[in-house]
């Protein structure tokens, strides 16, 4: 490989600094957008550099491929709805992991081709190559399964079959064995089999993970891809890949732990909980136990004469695109003298922080959005809590039922309110696939129907009072 001239090394260094500034910027609300743009600029500059010092072949084909990928990325990113953001991130991450694995396979091919081949690079480079091939494949397959779960192409319930633990363990052992083999006596077929085993392992890693935990896995796979890019940087002798990949790997791992903490879960429990068995996973069927339901007019009366109202928005609200009507309802109730706030659970939506993105899209005023810790003490004073399309984040099973998929997750204390109204499409359980005992309580009323339809009926009924 061509030696990297000093000027190019300095540009790479500047780009690495750019990535550090980008992540730093992304962690604060005021600087986030600038940070993202700095990252994008650094990435574009870094990718342009090799065209100026390496005698590249196939330049036209390369540029065409870049153009194709760019168009695909931009179209996908522009078309995607905010509600589908988690699966989009998963998909982008997956293709990145796949690209890293392919690059490592090509580099292995190149190492084997060059005269004296293996002796020149040393075993450490081969270990890094093997790592990139394996983990990149894991990330690709895992992300594809994650995407399928969130896009509801397959059930989001944990998928466990007899002997899963054994196949899972065996594929991990095979992966480590093949990687060792690759380091000791490298051959192309070992690399290819290693990639296939990685694909199998990645799928098996994600299949047993239940719906509500999937976002944590996206974050973890994101960190994995970062580490493969870092290892790829070592193999290719490119410092900007090493630094950028390591930054993402480290910050991604840290972010995964933060998210898991916000949900009251441990990462190992999320990944291996279903493998160990014993978790009481919901069958996802509707219950036929009696509940109290009411029409929009009855609920309107409850709301109109309440002094303190708390709204708990969930993913169902966003899917139905009922945010604007909800906002109007809140405005009307406010004009009538009620004190209304939105209670935002950290993992409402389908990913930590997702609900903030969704409500920001609907232009809900920032001051009315209350974080869980700030509002949890207020529920006992609330006359009515209106739960719109949320289920898991208010499910008392998180406190009372050890073994439930969401057990241990901090929840909104909706059960303490004087009256609770659930706006639901049906009795079908939420994303985590478990029933919510709160639905059957005496002080709970259900308003069945599509969130948007019910919401506008409710709005009209309140206005008519």
């Amino acid at each position: 490989m061509t030696a990297v001239p000093v000027w190019a090394q300095l540009v790479y260094l500047a780009c690495a600094v750019g990535f550090i500034l980008a992540l730093k910027g992304l962690s604060g609300p005021r600087t986030a957008r600038t940070g993202n743009l700095v990252g994008a600029a650094a990435a574009v500059i870094a990718c342009a550099v090799p065209f100026f010092y390496v005698d590249l072949d196939h330049v036209v084909l390369i540029l065409v491929a870049i153009a194709v990928g760019t168009v695909g990325g931009v179209v996908g990113a522009r078309r995607v709805q905010m509600t589908q953001m988690p699966q989009m991130v998963a998909l982008f991450n997956g293709v990145g992991g796949g690209a890293a694995a392919l690059v490592a396979l090509l580099e292995l091919h190149e190492i084997l081709e060059q005269p004296g081949g293996v002796d020149v690079v040393g075993w450490f480079v081969l270990v890094a190559t093997a790592f990139t091939i394996f983990v990149g494949s894991v990330s690709f397959a895992g992300s594809v399964i994650t995407f399928a779960k969130l896009q509801e192409l397959m059930s989001s319930a944990p998928l466990v079959f007899p002997g899963l633990a054994i196949v899972f363990g065996a594929s991990l052992v095979a992966g480590v064995g093949l990687a060792t083999q690759l380091a000791l006596s490298p051959a192309m077929w070992v690399g290819i089999v290693l990639a296939l085993v990685g694909l199998l392992f990645g799928a098996l890693l994600v299949l047993p993970v239940g719906g509500a935990d999937v976002p944590i896995v996206i974050s973890l796979l994101n960190a994995f891809t970062g580490l493969t890019v870092a290892a790829g940087g070592y193999v290719l002798d490119n410092v900007v890949l090493l630094v950028a990949g390591t930054l993402v790997g480290a910050s991604g791992t840290f972010l995964t732990l933060l998210m898991a903490k916000a949900m009251g879960r441990s990462v190992s429990n999320i990944l291996f909980g279903a493998l160990k068995g014993g978790s009481t996973l919901g069958a996802g069927v509707a219950s036929d136990r009696p509940v109290r339901s009411a029409g929009p007019e009855d609920v309107a009366i409850m709301l109109a004469y309440a002094d303190r109202i708390i709204i708990v928005p969930g993913y169902g609200l966003a899917v139905a695109q009922a945010q604007h009507t909800l906002r109007e309802l809140v405005d009307v109730l406010g004009e009538r003298g009620a004190d209304v706030d939105y209670a935002i659970h950290p993992v409402a939506g389908r990913m930590p922080g997702h609900m903030n993105v969704l409500l920001a899209e609907a232009q809900v005023p920032y001051e009315q959005l209350k974080e869980m810790d700030d509002i949890n003490g207020d529920f006992k004073d609330a006359d009515v809590v209106l739960v719109v399309g949320a289920n898991d984040v208010v499910n008392p099973a998180a406190k009372t039922t050890p073994g439930a998929p969401i057990y241990g997750m901090p929840i909104l204390n909706v059960d303490e309110a004087k009256q609770v109204v659930f706006m639901k499409r049906s009795m079908r359980p939420g994303f985590a696939g478990i029933e919510n005992e709160l639905l059957f309580e005496d002080h709970t009323t259900l308003l069945f129907g599509d969130a948007k339809d019910s919401m506008s009926k409710l709005l009209n009924a309140v206005k008519a009072l």
């Binding site: 990535f19 992540l23 990435a43 870049i66 293709v95 090509l106 580099e107 090493l242 930054l247 232009q363």
Partner: protein, 108 residues
Amino acid sequence: MNDAVVWLTIFVLSVFVGIEVIAKVSSTLHTPLMSGANAIHGIILLGAILVTGTTDNALALVIGLVAIVLAAVNMVGGFVVTDRMLQMFVRRKRPARTEPGATEGGAR
């Protein structure tokens, strides 16, 4: 200093920087931050360009081009989608300006 040790040094320092820069992130920004970090690892595009541009094997060329397409999707899509999310946060911070007439149909 041995080359491998230099690389190890950069790696270890980058781990600490990576953790340090996001240590104070608020949960509101978890989603955009994850998406932005995701875009950054799309820099594997650089590696894909390097290996594709230096191969003379037809099959390797095809695989390399596939890798370039995938990496470009990851990188470009990641930055664009993150920006889209963050745009909404910017608008929300100035509700006074967007309030009139924005109650219904403010978003497409």
